[in-house]
């Protein structure tokens, strides 16, 4: 029975695959409509940055990015809501290995440097807030695995403020541009470059915080709470 179910699932997937192959083929050789990249390159001069992907992410389609950061923050909120320990960082993990400590003393500042470079590079070549945030978060993971104490990893004020900081700055920029300018997120002429840099810097911090807190959010205690009506 189980085997028959698997076989029919396999057949269904294969059928869907063939239909997709057919439609990919027909789409690839019969496209209609205009070309979006041409419009992007025409508008690049007004975007405030030199790198087209950064321009799309933080100017042309900045609303997507705002909501995307919202999604990240939601995941972090849901993650830290699961943690019952007063500290997300379990003291039992702290070790004092001389070799690890020495290595980290070399690595951590280097990784900070890389993260800073990635933000700065985002304006004109591949890079940007998410990549830099990921490197920062990786630094945090390394520090945690290496047993360095990180006092800010408590589900307290500091952690929550850090999670929301980048999002809040982005949102404030959006509000200010809506009130003094034309529309939500429409940067006034000439300010786009600085506003984008400001947003990217704070986003880097918050993205690193989100990823790190999701990494450390799993410890649990053993007292499950009763749901409503389950007494």
């Amino acid at each position: 029975m189980k085997c028959r179910g698997l076989v029919s699932l396999l057949l269904l997937c294969a059928a869907l695959g063939w239909v997709l192959v057919y439609s990919l083929w027909s789409i690839a050789f019969n496209p209609v409509g205009g070309s979006l990249p041409e419009q992007v390159s025409k508008a690049m001069a007004d975007s405030g940055v030199d790198h087209p992907i950064t321009a799309v992410l933080l100017n042309f389609r900045s609303y997507d990015t705002l909501l995307e950061i919202g999604v990240l923050v939601i995941a972090a909120i849901a993650g830290i809501s699961m943690a019952r320990l007063p500290s997300l960082e379990d003291p039992a993990f702290r070790t004092h290995d001389a070799l690890l400590d020495a290595l980290q003393r070399w690595f951590v500042p280097l990784m900070w440097l890389v993260a800073g470079y990635l933000v700065w590079a985002g304006a004109h070549q591949p890079g940007g807030a998410f990549q830099a945030g990921a490197v920062l978060a990786a630094t945090g993971v390394l520090m945690r695995l290496g047993g360095m104490p990180m006092g800010f990893l408590q589900p307290g004020y500091l952690l929550r403020a850090g999670l929301i900081l980048g999002f809040a700055v982005f949102l404030l920029v959006a509000l200010v541009t809506a009130v003094v300018g034309d529309a939500f997120l429409a940067y006034p002429a000439g300010t786009a470059k600085y506003l984008i840099l400001l947003i990217e810097l704070f986003l880097t911090l918050s993205i690193a915080m989100v990823l790190l807190s999701l990494f450390v959010a799993a410890p649990v205690n053993d007292a499950p709470e009763s749901q409503e009506g389950h007494q």
Binding site: A28, R61, P224
Partner: protein, 104 residues
């Protein structure tokens, strides 16, 4: 066939493989990996098809970056939920077994 189109077809294979996995596999981590496979397949198709059409296309590359971040958020949340579920229920799949009878 251009290389871009080749990417699109590779993405298709990944998507279908992931779809099969997410339905057929029981272990939650495997399901999550299958979801990530589906996601990568979708992103490959998105970029491959668009670049086959437009040449280098910053719009879809930005879309895929956004999509990756969303997928990371979802994956991380799912991992936290799975780990806690494993801790509390001692189980790695959503299947019900005999001990669940009478419970909601």
């Amino acid at each position: 066939m251009t290389p871009d189109l080749f990417y699109a077809f590779t993405g298709l294979v990944l998507f279908i493989t992931g779809l099969f996995g997410i339905i057929a596999l029981q272990h939650l981590l495997r399901k999550l990996l299958a979801f990530n496979l589906m996601g990568s397949g979708t992103f490959l198709m998105l970029v491959g098809l668009a670049q086959h059409r437009n040449g280098t296309d910053p719009v879809v590359q930005a879309l895929v970056l956004t999509g990756i971040v969303v997928a990371i958020a979802a994956t991380a949340l799912a991992l936290v939920l799975i780990r806690r579920y494993y801790h509390l229920a001692g189980r790695v799949s959503l299947e019900r077994d005999a001990t669940d009878e009478g419970r909601p």
